[in-house]
């Protein structure tokens, strides 16, 4: 006997993500889900944005890693509250683990919670966490073909940051090729070239981010 089901298997996660979003809204907080491959500069970009936020805005970070609390320590050392999620092998964050972390962070808004996802351009894409915004960090040394090779993550981005712009003179990176790849999968997504090392582009990025929230 056939039974029509027509259900997304992501439904339980999506429901929890919605709960997370509502929980955050009640505290006048929004979450930004930061995705990138390992080493692209998620933590660095988050730190640079945190430094530039107006004092009236509260902020905190939920760090996702397979292991270690290296990034959480960096954030705390810079003066912001942070909570670590270790997946112990899991390749992406899910809404349930983020929900628990939000409670632990215990932050009151108005403000922003950055969720630094596991370094991975594939698995985190399908899993909503309750974010208001998806920020994807690409970096110059990774090469200009990443949007074509990993279309799903770039397609889902609300904002793309191309980090390590200070390395343009040293890497064979065709900017037009990169931008064409982004346009293929995400037509009008705002894109900012930055260097966390030199500070280039960060002012514009932060100004734009603040205009969205």
């Amino acid at each position: 006997m056939k039974i029509d089901v027509n259900r997304s298997i992501l439904e339980p996660n999506d429901l929890q993500a919605l709960k997370n979003k509502e929980l955050l809204a009640a505290k006048k907080l929004i979450a930004i889900n930061v995705l990138a491959s390992p080493g692209a500069g998620k933590t660095s970009v988050i730190l640079q944005i945190l430094k530039a936020l107006p004092k009236e805005l509260k902020a905190g970070v939920i760090e996702g890693d397979v292991a270690s609390s290296i990034d959480t320590e960096k954030i705390k050392a810079a003066g912001w509250p942070a909570v670590q999620i270790n997946t112990g092998g899991g390749c992406h964050l899910e809404a349930e683990m983020v929900g628990k972390a939000i409670a632990k962070l215990d932050l009151e808004g108005p403000g922003i919670i950055f969720i630094e996802n596991i370094g991975n351009l594939i698995c985190p894409v399908e899993f909503a966490l309750g974010e208001a915004l998806r920020l994807v960090v690409a970096s110059v040394p990774e090469g200009d073909d990443k949007p074509i090779k990993y279309p799903a993550v770039f397609a889902d981005a609300d904002l793309i940051v191309l980090n390590k712009a200070d390395l343009f003179p040293y890497i064979d990176f065709n900017k037009d090729k990169f931008l064409a790849g982004v346009k293929l999968v995400n037509k009008n997504v705002p894109l900012f070239e930055v260097s966390c090392k030199s500070g280039e582009g960060l002012k514009e990025l932060v100004a734009f981010l603040l205009s969205l929230i």
């Binding site: 006997m1 056939k2 039974i3 029509d4 089901v5 027509n6 259900r7 997304s8 298997i9 992501l10 439904e11 339980p12 899991g90 390749c91 992406h92 594939i122 698995c123 894409v125 399908e126 074509i148 279309p151 799903a152 397609a155 064409a180 790849g181 346009k183 293929l184 999968v185 037509k187």
Partner: protein, 113 residues
């Protein structure tokens, strides 16, 4: 790659729909952009369904392509991940736009009466 998690979610969804009846077949649709590999998924499913009402179920995985549409001439192509993605339209050389192919859907199940 997390086919283990996906297999678990497929199993949970199917068992819920089966409502206590043995499951014979699960029709699952995975979008090409969802990053799921069929073989590992089948393997994981076989393992985790042991001891459940879906133990003998056949998991049928259909890959749903994403759509590649030319912004200039409207020409459409399916993208299922088996060929390189083309930024330009093969017909007119215009710009392509990619959409869809992200679903992870249990469409239907077959149960013993």
């Amino acid at each position: 790659m997390h086919e283990g998690t996906i297999a678990q979610s497929v199993l949970t969804t199917a068992l819920a729909a089966a409502d206590g009846r043995p499951v014979k077949k699960i029709n699952f649709r995975a979008g090409a952009m969802a990053g799921i590999e069929k073989e590992p998924l089948l393997h994981f499913f076989q393992e985790i369904s042991k001891g459940t009402l879906a133990e003998k179920a056949e998991l049928s995985v259909e890959t749903a392509p994403a759509k590649l549409t030319c912004v200039s001439c409207g020409h459409q192509d399916n993208y299922d991940g088996s060929k390189p993605l083309s930024v330009t339209c093969q017909v007119c050389g215009g710009e392509n736009s990619l959409a869809g192919g992200k679903e992870l859907f249990v469409e239907s199940i077959e149960v013993a009466k």
